[in-house]
Symmetry: C2
Subunit: 292 residues, 2 copies
Amino acid sequence: MQSQPRFPRLALLGVGYIGGSAVQAARRAGIVGESVGYDPSSEACAAAKRLGIIDRASATPAEAVAGASFVLLAAPVRSMEELLRAVAPALAPDATVVDVGSVKSAIVAAADACLPAGRFIGCHPMAGAEFSGVEAANPDIFAGRVCFVCPGRDAHASALAAARDFWRGIGCQTAAIDADVHDRLMAAQSHLPHVAAFALAGALASVMPFLDATTSVASPTTSLRDTTRIAASGPAVWRDILLANATHVLPLIQELEARVAEIKAAVEAGDGEALERVLAEARACRRRLVKE
Amino acid sequence: MQSQPRFPRLALLGVGYIGGSAVQAARRAGIVGESVGYDPSSEACAAAKRLGIIDRASATPAEAVAGASFVLLAAPVRSMEELLRAVAPALAPDATVVDVGSVKSAIVAAADACLPAGRFIGCHPMAGAEFSGVEAANPDIFAGRVCFVCPGRDAHASALAAARDFWRGIGCQTAAIDADVHDRLMAAQSHLPHVAAFALAGALASVMPFLDATTSVASPTTSLRDTTRIAASGPAVWRDILLANATHVLPLIQELEARVAEIKAAVEAGDGEALERVLAEARACRRRLVKE
């Protein structure tokens, strides 16, 4: 007789790129038995079924979680609280609930308020990419990546173990972190870089016809590719992340604006000394941020 | 009897990363005979000799170019005009003079004013990197890269052929382009991305102690690495580039500042609709810029 998989039944709420990739990886690793999905988009559910990510789709979130030992919340950040309220009464007593969101304080607080005590573990696998939609799901994106783990209030040891086993089972290293520290860290390491990349790509709108006309002689530089890569990310996803982490990201956006203004003023004034000073400070930061 | 190399004697004025890499590549390709260098830094000259990039160093620019058939100007942009004046009287009548600068209109105009007619070809190999100093020289950086070629006024066919042979000889594809079109293109594709990367890295100065304290749990994200990579570039080099191309880059810096301000205002106001619109416009630009 074969032993049961670690997670006999999994519910995936929100069938998109990250959730789809995680469940695909977990099924490939053999740690998930049955997989049930819920998503407002029936196209997403159909695609997930076609890709073997879910076995069947449920009509409601509550129906999807009934009998599931592991619930993966992978819906857009702004729909999370509603989802938590919808599934709370239907959860199995020993179910573990995790999410995959890029901002952790708000969701951990919401889960503490809505769910039975001790069952929620906030998670953030650092495997985001500029892709979206379950059709792009890729089970290979987790290998070797860190997954931050922020337990909710009085998290049960069994829930924490389940969350760790899930992420480790698909190749992640887990790292426990306080939700607020996580959010401050991500504001600096991910959210502000996205603001910069979106602002840069958007700033080029004014010269787009000129750039279109030069594509015969000039392909995009590596600089342009690298600095704008993450501006290909989903606008709705990033709207939610920036709003959810406004407390920590706003002061940094103000710093970014101030630095752009400093460079502008120095170039405008032809002030080489001031310009070199701003650039040298920036380089010192980069070298401290990324040791290469 | 062996045939002579394409460039029997080359003079390298300004012994740094790009010039050093180009001459190293050209010597490896066997297209350069003797190589003479000039640089105000005797350490740079000593390193270049040690690396086999130059055979000997000259005490003055004029001495370095005497008898050279090919002169490679690779000094900082702001010292170029002085260099051109210094070498003009000493140039061999059939010498070809090229540069490697990131901004072309000013240098082409300066060469037209200072040098004998027809001998200058403005060049810009797209092989820049966030490295500096001849010690970092790498002959492999040119393979498959575009080198923009902007002939000066009434450029002689022999000079244009020499410039093309040099860059093609080290693996570049050459692309002729009008100097002003080049500068507008680089403002968008390279100079503004550098401004964004420098501004982003600099903006993180305020949270650097916090980030230092989290290095045990969190290594830099891919987003952060990619978006700040070019902020490791030389501050003096980029001071010169931004000032030399102020005409084209300033309006774009203003656009960048405006986009950052738009994102800030939307986050501040919690205006998800406005925020998503700015981000969606930016994504559309990115997709038009980089077809993947």
